[in-house]
């Protein structure tokens, strides 16, 4: 029985990386994915900020799920999520001003990221605290990983640097830093992952 549980938790954790990756398989949260992945570090910080919100909101929602009448569950979830987003927004402003500046508008927009509400509705409202926490962490890290890889690819092609380190002093293929590059990158990324997911 115990082993079964750990297996289950492990599954809950790992499914977010490839099998049910929020961006690459479920195609959720595409707006910040396209918008913030201009560099690896931006993608990673956006992913980690979302992970924080996802884990916290999953925990709280799984705790209070029985206290919330069905008909008002969505507004209640949104309030919980929005509170955590505001918390991370203020914390980043205070302690990570550099990253906050580049991500700017996208941090408050985590509120309407469908991954967060999606996990609250599909998982946290039906499962226990621990499982929800693990699910949030797995999904969040899967999201962060996807964003970081996409950001790294765009950064390498677009500005010939990786994690801010310029390896060739020249201009890259500019289109990859711009919005169309985000679509190209994401499309190929999804195609590759789907090929190996079969």
């Amino acid at each position: 029985m115990k082993e079964d549980r750990t297996m289950n938790n492990w599954k809950n954790f790992t499914k977010g990386f490839i099998k049910e990756n929020p961006v690459l398989v479920m195609l959720l949260g595409c707006c910040p994915t396209l918008g913030t992945t201009t560099s690896a570090i931006n993608g990673l910080s956006m992913g980690l900020a979302t992970t924080f919100v996802l884990v916290c909101s999953n925990i709280v929602i799984s705790l209070i799920k029985n206290l919330i009448p069905d008909k008002v569950r969505i507004p209640s979830y949104i309030v919980v999520i929005a509170s955590f987003v505001t918390v991370i927004d203020l914390l980043m402003q205070a302690y990570l001003p550099g990253i906050y500046e580049t991500l700017g508008l996208f941090i408050p927009l985590i509120v309407v990221n469908c991954i967060v509400l999606g996990r609250a509705e599909a998982f946290a409202s039906k499962n226990g605290v621990w499982a929800s926490c693990v699910d949030g962490l797995g999904m969040g890290l899967g999201y962060a990983l996807a964003l970081m890889i996409l950001g790294a690819v765009r950064e390498v092609l677009g500005s010939l640097s990786i994690f801010g380190w310029q390896f060739i002093q020249a201009d890259g293929i500019l289109v990859f830093v711009l919005a169309p590059g985000a679509f190209f990158g994401l499309a190929y990324f999804i195609a590759v992952v789907r090929r190996f997911n079969k």
Binding site: L67, D70, V79, V80, T86, V87, L90
Partner: protein
Amino acid sequence: MAKKQSSLINMVLTLFVITVVAAVALGFVYYFTQEPIAQVKEKKLNEGLMKVLPAFDHQVAEEVEGVPTYKAFDANEQLVGTAVEVVTDKGFGGDVKVLVGFDTEGKIFGYTVLEHKETAGLGSKMGDWFQEGGKGNVIGKDLSTPAKVSKDGGDVDAITAATISSRAFCDALNKAYATYTASQSSNTATEAQPAAEEAKAEATAEPTEVAENEGGQDNE
């Protein structure tokens, strides 16, 4: 525990409790982050001022026609330069906020872009492009003839493939210069009728002391 019924009273109560708890929690977080956030902003402003002004000892912040202006003085209360924080809405991606520093003769001493939403890799280059050694160097420029990109018949070299951002930057410079001129003329007014103007200045300006500039060694 069974799920709560969706009766009116239950729904209203639940939402009320949740929002109250959330509001209180956020109040706490706000309270604790308020000071670090203010410090970060002040630090950023001071770093900006050090970049755009000659070595100074302390600065006085004031508003000239609603635009934040910072006058920098040396240890002997001599004015060494004026910095103007100006916003232009002509940017490609939205507002561009630039801090422009003028020396005592009204020439550009330095600038730094505080906020922008220009395209990464194109317009976002404006932070370096117009600096000394950059291709569109504007440092030392006298703005009594307004700054214009070369495409519009001016003498500022626009960023390659980002003419709109460059135009916005020139617009910011010209606005900053207008504010600078206004601040200078209000200065002469102060000398003419000190009593009235001083009272007015006290009412509008909030002088802020800046920490010692450590001999201005950070001033690059």
